[in-house]
């Protein structure tokens, strides 16, 4: 893992002291809310329905056991005993008092964490593949580059007042698990024919009010030009991005209005002027950052297969969990384990302080102290010996985190929605809970197979509904909640935005509608190897419309 150096410690501590002073002045009435709001937002402090909310950055989703224990401590001491992992690999506390936040930030700084740039019109937390550094299919670990971007973008004076927020994601495998094509900049780390590392560069993706799939503007950018090229993109955006209309201020609108060819030409021109500047990354610096992310020394553990076969025969629950919650590791004696934060009927992404401590202990005992947060609101232990899986599973059962549903219909993404969020128009979490309860049966879930449901409580799309195989968007209509359904979205290497399927459904109709969609798929798939998304792409929306709306659909 990356470890703060002396500069990092001084930088974050200075920031905590600065914010402490700002909070004191605010509480003393020396500065107004209008003056304070941009300052608190730059430190991750929002105001929601019931209280303030503190959003803590988890860079590229990587956490140590020590950091997880501190999150548990903060949850117990300053919040209500739990935290919420988000679709941007961050953690939110939903109940902190403003007066306590400087103390919270000081404690976070002691474990090399902060909340800087988790809000505001700046470059946000850089996200990455949650299996980074472990996945068998990875070309290279994307996190060193994400860390370089983090250092470059933190309090970058030129990019602290952008037209709007700016999100960068990096993936290091052909299989895109970081949804790079729905980010302002998406970077796909790859090798060229000569075996050199570089990036395919995507620009202008995003969800929200105007969802867009990013455009690829470079097929191969040599790694040493990472910062010069990103600077070129940000400069073009900072200069030409719209500041007159908040809803048209993201770079996706600029790309759309300018045209990809023209925008690419502008970026390339800027890049030509920058590429040999001090932004060009020295090979030694890239490798130096890379050493922080070197995988742990993994001792040979060849006894795993034998141990697993015996345990799986004796414990059906364990066998099920093995089928769903493992991901192939570079080292055949090891796997990456998904810890589902989607227990049946539970709140997606929520975790109690006791569970945080228990997972920290598990990571310490069996996973080289490493934990990852996925954008799908689950946790990952990236390096677990196959021989230790039963011990890990048994402990997860004890703490209520052994749900064997990774990638299944109950592994639902949901934003906090109207239960917490001041921007929301409808609740998301209760819909997720009801769908989860409806499809609770494990055999039925596995019969349905891979299916991603994503739910947002407003058009800002924190729940990524546009890229859900089944997407659900909550809106307010005539004072009541209404849920619009999209089908066929995906946030992977074949990113697509879902199609709006028809009129919305009330809170008491939406779960039935989802079940109708699922049953329609089951009835029409070629065989059980054709997953929902593949079937939808083959069939199109018509049979689903027919099933949902019947004669109403024909009339339309």
């Amino acid at each position: 893992m990356y470890r703060y150096d002396e500069f990092d410690h001084a930088f974050v501590n200075a920031r905590v002291a600065e914010f402490r002073d700002q909070v004191e002045r605010r509480l003393a009435g020396e500065i107004t809310e209008d003056q304070f709001k941009p300052l608190r937002l730059m430190n991750g402090v929002y105001l929601q329905l019931h209280a303030y909310m503190l959003r803590i950055a988890i860079p590229y989703g990587t956490l140590s056991s020590r950091q997880m224990r501190m999150l548990a401590h903060i949850a117990r001491t300053y919040d209500k005993g739990y935290g919420h992992f988000t679709t941007r690999q961050n953690l939110q506390f939903h109940w902190p008092a403003l007066k306590d936040i400087p103390d919270i930030l000081e404690k976070l700084a002691s474990v090399e964490m902060h909340a800087i740039q988790t809000s505001g019109n700046c470059i946000r937390n850089v996200t990455a593949d949650h299996f980074a550094g472990a996945a068998a299919d990875e070309v290279a670990d994307p996190r060193p580059y994400a860390e370089i971007l983090r250092q470059w973008s933190s309090l970058h004076p030129e990019f602290s007042y952008l037209p709007r927020k700016f999100k960068i994601a990096v993936t290091g495998a052909e299989r895109d698990r970081a949804a790079v094509q729905v980010h302002d900049i998406g970077l796909h780390l790859k090798k060229n024919a000569a075996g050199e590392l570089g990036f395919a560069v995507y620009v202008g993706g995003g969800l929200g009010r105007t969802p867009m799939v990013a455009k690829k503007i470079r097929d191969f950018l040599p790694e040493e030009h990472l910062l010069s090229y990103c600077t070129a993109i940000l400069r073009v955006y900072n200069l030409h991005g719209r500041r007159d209309n908040k809803y048209k201020a993201r770079i996706k609108i600029l790309v759309h209005e300018t045209g990809t060819a023209e925008l690419t030409a502008q970026v390339e021109k800027e890049f030509e002027a920058l590429k040999e500047s001090e932004l060009k990354l020295p090979e030694a610096d890239i490798r130096a950052i890379g050493t922080y992310f070197a995988p742990p020394a993994l001792p040979p553990r060849p006894e795993g297969d034998r141990a697993l076969a015996a345990s799986a025969n004796a414990d059906r629950g364990f066998a099920t969990w093995l089928r769903r919650n493992l991901h192939t590791h570079k080292n055949p004696d090891y796997v990456s384990v998904t810890i589902s934060l989607k227990g049946i009927g539970e709140v997606p992404g929520d975790m109690s302080a006791d569970q945080m401590d228990a997972v920290a202990d598990l990571a310490n005992a069996y996973a080289f102290d490493e934990i990852r947060v996925s954008h799908e609101q689950n946790l990952v232990l990236p390096h677990v010996a196959r021989a230790d899986l039963k011990a890990v599973y048994d402990r997860l059962v004890e703490i209520g985190l052994a749900t064997a549903n990774a990638g299944l219909v109950t592994d639902i993404i949901a934003c906090p929605g109207l239960d917490y969020c001041a921007l929301a128009n409808a609740r998301s979490i209760p819909v997720a809970q009801q769908i989860s309860n409806r499809f609770a049966d494990q055999a039925r879930q596995e019969e349905i197979g891979d299916l991603k449901i994503k739910i947002s409580g407003c058009i800002n799309a924190c729940g990524h509904h546009h890229v859900g195989h089944i997407g659900i968007l909550g809106v307010e209509k005539k004072g009541a909640e209404l849920y619009q359904v999209t089908l066929g979205g995906s946030g992977d290497e074949n990113t697509a935005l879902g199609d709006i399927i028809g009129r919305g459904f009330g809170p008491d109709e939406i779960v039935d509608a989802v079940e109708t969609i699922v049953d329609t798929y089951l009835g029409l798939r070629l065989d059980n190897n054709e997953n929902f998304l593949a079937a939808y792409r083959r069939l199109g929306p018509a049979p689903f419309k027919e099933a949902l709306y019947g004669s109403e659909a024909k009339a339309a």
Binding site: R26, L27, P96, A97, E476, G479, E481
Partner: protein, 102 residues
């Protein structure tokens, strides 16, 4: 019918303007007004409380009386008055189960 909602500056807790200019944590204790003059008076009190750094995000909200209890018209404000609908043990409703207004 309207009343004045806000969040308290120091801890963000949802509060409503009660009788005598006091900010109360229970919507049942909020002052309800029924005419433009009353609304103007609440709004003025809100502006003064913002200026005194007691509260922020002050907003007049529509309410009705149902079975003798105040009930905001918008779900958003009902959730704010009760707490998260998914966590009956948290928020105002934890202290006063009857406050569950969703």
């Amino acid at each position: 019918m309207k009343l004045l909602a806000a969040n308290r500056l120091i801890d963000g807790v949802a509060v409503w303007l009660g009788q005598g200019g006091r900010w109360v944590e229970d919507i049942a204790e909020a002052e309800i007004v029924r005419d433009k003059e009353g609304e103007a008076r609440l709004e003025q009190a809100g502006r003064e409380a913002v200026a005194k750094n007691q509260v922020l995000d002050v907003e007049l909200i529509d309410v009705e009386i149902v079975d003798g209890a105040v009930r905001p018209l918008r779900l958003r404000e009902r959730i704010r008055a009760a707490g998260p609908s998914i966590h009956p043990e948290l928020g105002k409703q934890a202290k006063k189960p009857a406050a569950s207004l969703v």
